[in-house]
C-alpha cells in the first residue's frame, strides 16, 4: 500500500449528500477481474454524456461540461470535499480504487458510509471526517477561490487551509500506523498467527458444529 504522510493538493468540491458507490463507479465496471483501470470511469454516469461500457476509449467520449471535475480549474485535484454519508451503498472496493486511481489521496466529508470508510484505508486513500459546518465553509471557499489547495498532515492529524487554519481530525492509532508506514493488514495480522490458531482450536472444541469440513 502507498504510504500517506503528508499531502498538499488542489481541492475539488462535490456539493451533494449521499454520494453512493453506484455513482462513484457504476456496476458495469465491476466485471473486471483486475484491481486497476477504474480511474477513467470514476463518476462515469455524471462525467460523460454517453453511457459508459468497459473497453471503451474514454478519451474519445463526450464529457459532461456541467460535471464539477470536468471544469478546467479542478484538473489535477487530489482532495475531494463532499457532503454527508459519502460512499453509501455497496461494499465494492472498486469505489476507493476508482477515486485513488483518478488521483485522489484524501476525501473530506461530514460523514462516510462504514464499509466505504474502511475500504479507503486499505488503499492509501485517507477519508477525513470534519464537522458539517466546517465542510460547508471549505466547499464555499473552494468554489470561491481558483486554485484552492489544502495540506493534509496525517502525523499532526490536521487539514491546513491556505490561510493557515489547522482543522483537526480523528483517526485510530492502528489505521494511522498502517497508513504512515504503508503497511497492509495481512502481514501484520499474520504476526498473530499463533493467537489465531489457539483461538480457533478452542472454538473448534467448544462449538464443533461451526467447523463442518465437508470440503467440496
Amino acid at each position: 500500500m502507498e504510504k500517506f504522510v503528508q499531502h498538499k493538493g488542489l481541492a475539488a468540491p462535490m456539493d451533494r449528500e449521499n454520494v453512493d458507490t453506484d455513482a462513484i463507479i457504476p456496476k458495469q465496471f465491476l466485471k473486471s477481474i483486475h484491481r486497476t483501470g477504474f480511474g477513467e470511469n470514476l463518476f462515469d454516469a455524471w462525467r460523460y454524456l454517453d453511457t459508459g461500457e468497459p473497453g471503451m476509449d474514454n478519451a474519445a467520449r463526450p464529457l459532461n461540461p456541467d460535471f464539477v471535475l470536468n471544469q478546467a480549474r479542478y484538473r489535477g485535484a487530489s482532495i475531494l470535499v463532499a457532503g454527508k454519508n459519502f460512499g453509501c451503498g455497496s461494499s465494492r472496493e472498486h469505489a476507493p480504487w476508482a477515486l485513488q486511481q483518478y488521483g485522489f489521496r484524501a476525501i473530506i466529508a461530514p460523514s462516510f458510509a462504514d464499509i466505504f470508510f474502511n475500504n479507503c484505508y486499505k488503499n492509501g486513500l485517507l477519508p477525513i471526517v470534519l464537522e458539517a459546518g466546517t465542510v460547508r465553509r471549505l466547499i464555499d471557499a473552494i468554489k470561491g477561490f481558483v486554485g484552492y489547495e489544502l495540506v493534509v498532515d496525517l502525523e499532526a492529524q490536521t487539514v491546513r487551509t491556505p490561510d493557515a487554519e489547522a482543522l483537526a481530525f480523528d483517526i485510530t492509532p492502528h489505521r494511522k500506523y498502517c497508513l504512515l508506514n504503508g503497511f497492509d493488514d495481512i502481514g501484520l495480522t499474520l504476526r498473530s498467527a499463533d493467537k489465531i490458531r489457539a483461538f480457533e482450536a478452542e472454538r473448534r472444541a467448544r462449538h464443533p458444529y461451526y467447523f463442518n469440513s465437508r470440503v467440496a
Partner: protein
Amino acid sequence: MPQTLYDKLWDSHVVHSEEDGTALLYIDRHLVHEVTSPQAFEGLRVAGRKLWRADSIVCTADHNTPTTDWDRGIDGIADPIAREQVVTLDRNIRAFGSLAYFPFLDKQQGIVHVIGPEQGATLPGMTVVCGDSHTSTHGAFACLAHGIGTSEVEHVMATQCLVAKKMKSMLVRIDGALPAGVTAKDMALAVIGRIGTAGGTGCAIEFAGSAVRALSMEGRMTLCNMAIEAGARAGMIAFDDVTAAYLKGRAFAPKGAEWDVAVAYWRTLKSDEGARFDATVEMRAEEIAPQVTWGTSPEMVVTVDGRVPDPEREKDAARRSGIEAALKYMGLAPNTPMTEIRVDRVFIGSCTNSRIEDIRQAAWVVRRLGRRVASSVKQALVVPGSGLVKAQAEAEGLDRVLKDAGFEWREPGCSMCLAMNADRLEPGERCASTSNRNFEGRQGAGGRTHLVSPAMAAAAAIEGRFADVRKLT
C-alpha cells in the same frame, strides 16, 4: 452486566484486542461470489498465500449470471467480460478449495444471501462476512454478519480474521401487529424513512419487538438485509423457535445430539434484560402502511396513499436541492399521488425479496386480482433467489399462476437489482422493484426505481400503476 446480542457475538469472536479498541475478530463463515473475489484470490497468489480455512468458504456465482438461456451453458453469458469473471471464480475455487460451491448452472445455485441460510451454512452465533453489503441479511439468524471490501476478503481468506473495531449498538423495536398486506419490506422502508440512510451509520442494529418476532425467517432476512440501507453494516435478530425450525435438517446445520447442544447455546443469543443500547428507536407495527420510494435514495419514501413531496415545502436548502435533483432524475412532478404513477417494468427478486414467501405473496396478489399484467407494462420479471426456491415455487404451482398472468419466470440470480447481467432498465423507464436500492442508474443507466414489497410489485404489474394492496385483503 447485562449484554446485548451484539456484545455477546462480538466478545465470543475477539482473538486479540489493542489499546485503541482495534481487534482481531475471528470469522466463522466466508461467503464468496464472482464480483468481489478475483482480486483477492490474485492477491493470495501474488503473495504465495493459501486459504487459512477453506472449509469456512461457501461460494456461488450470482451477480453476473444470466436468468435466461441456461441450456446454452456458459455460452449463455453473452458478455465476454462477465463470462471471464464467472470462469475465473470456477478456476479460483478449484485451485483454492471451499466447503461448498454452487457454480453457475448448478441446481442449487442462487443469490449468495439466499443460499447461505438455505443450506444451513449460516448458523446462529457465527460471524459471517462476504464481499457484499447485503451480508447484513444473515443477522436474521442471530449472527454478526456484515459486508466487507475486497482487501478484507483477501484478509479473511489469508488469516480467518478481520481487523475491526466494535460498532455502536442501536435497538429498533417494533411492537404490535402488522396490518394485512403490510410486510417486512414495508417495515424496513418505514425504519429507513424514519432514521434516514445514515441513521444507523457506525451501528449494529438489533431488530426486536413483537412485530419482529412474529415474522418468518424470510421476513426477518428482508428486514436485516435492508439494515445497510439505514447505514448500519449489520442488522440482527435474537434466536428463537422460528430460527430453530427454519434451520433444522438443512444441509450444513448440526444433526442429532450435536443439534441439541447447539440449540442450548443458541438460546443464549439474545439481549439480556436491561442491556444498554447506544440508541433506541421504537415504532408501532399498526402504523406501518405499504411503502413506495419516490426518489433516488431509500430514505426518499412515502406510504402508498401519500404523494410525491413538494420541494417548496422543504426549509433546509441542502435537502431541498436533493429533492429537486431526485424529482428531476425520476421524472416526477411534486404532489403527484403515488397511485397515479405508472410503471414500465416490474422486478420481483433480489437478496431482499426472492425467497419462497415473497413469491407466494406475489402469486397471492395475482390470484386475488384475477387479471393479467397491464398491457402498458413492458415486462414483469420474477427471478427466484435460488434453484431451490425456484423448484419449491414450481412444486406449489406459483410459477403457473405468475406465467399465466403474463409474468416472466426466470432462472435465479441478482438480475435487475443491480443490472450487471442483461436484465436492466432502459433510460427513462420506471420500475416497481422489490430490490433494495433506488440509486441513479442502479437498475440500468437512466432507469427509475421505486422500491416496494413483492405484494405491491405484483399489484403494480397488474394495475400498471402503484396500488394499495391493503384494499385487496
